[in-house]
Symmetry: C2
Subunit: 198 residues, 2 copies
């Protein structure tokens, strides 16, 4: 029915998280009917992000500049470092604007099942950042999953020789919960009640 071009656009949209084939079709129709107010702005925004997209060489965040906006922000407290599994976790925490420090993205979590080892994550880089000094506290903000907590324990061991305070998010996260899905109130509570690694 639809032309090849429309079919291609539908498929590209259907691959986005949260959209399926049916909602992608509705979105395409919306874009085609509202060319000036929907299609063109989306196209321009995509072009601009595509041109400037980069991974931050300091923390691993994805942004349109390198170093990213957070690492480049002088008002951030460089003595505070929050370690997260994924960029989505960084965004979730930063969205709530509760954490005044900087971040470090591991790029995943240790997993025997999926064969993810320490050398597969951005851990050496994290150790280098901490070894370089100037950091007082490292918040291990892993997900409250088995693998997230395993990763936190591993990091706590790797980092125990450094003169930094290691903390973790307060329990109050629901078991099995992932940061990106939590409401900001829960995130705020967890961050405020963070405590030293036992």
């Amino acid at each position: 029915m639809a032309s090849q071009e429309i079919e291609a656009l539908t498929q590209a949209l259907a691959r986005l998280p949260g959209l399926g084939p049916r909602s992608a079709r509705r979105a395409v129709l919306h874009l085609m009917k509202k060319r000036e107010t929907a299609l063109t702005p989306l196209l321009r925004a995509l072009e601009r992000v595509s041109e400037r997209l980069s991974v931050c060489s300091v923390c691993g965040n994805v942004d349109t500049s390198d170093p990213c906006g957070i690492c480049a922000d002088e008002r951030r407290d460089g003595r505070l470092l929050c370690v997260v599994e994924e960029v989505s976790d960084l965004w979730a925490l930063d969205r709530a604007r509760l954490f005044p420090g900087r971040f470090h993205v591991l790029g995943g979590r240790l997993s025997a099942l999926e064969g993810v080892r320490p050398e597969d994550l951005s851990i050496d880089k994290l150790v280098s950042r901490i070894a370089a000094g100037g950091i007082d506290e490292v918040v291990l903000a892993m997900n409250a999953t088995l693998e997230g907590q395993t990763t936190a324990h591993y990091l706590a061991e790797r980092l125990e020789t450094f003169p930094v305070r290691l903390t973790q998010l307060a329990h109050g996260l629901p078991v099995g919960g992932e940061l990106d899905y939590l409401d900001e109130g829960t995130l705020a509570q967890a961050l405020r009640a963070r405590r030293p690694v036992a």
Copy 2:
């Protein structure tokens, strides 16, 4: 937190039907993390659709060619014409590949409440198409709403002088529908239109 470019992209995506601010953010993150497999294909597909987008001057469908793929398709039965309210209805009917004829999009429905009058819809064009001859049957495939049915009645009156068969979609139980969950209107229609067991 996010750069201006990322914010703009998030907002453009959040305006699509079926996506809100939160899912748009997840989609942006997905696009940025999967540049080659997600961002670039979406960008290319949007560009191509944007370049060729047009409204069919015959039937009102949106497509990447004019006349649209359906109007240009020689294998379609030109004697059958299906009149729908919106382009989305055309797509829904055509997706099922059940209707072998061509379409006509009114661009809305008559509505006293919203001030939509006959001259606001593509009705004169429809009358011209039918007056030009070659059409045997006109299916009035309006929505089963008060306004849809009002529109169908109006069209039936406008078209009664033409030598065409006017039909409408059957009303009744949807496939898989359970009596207990159906509204009384549907049940009444299904009962009124009951037919002998084959």
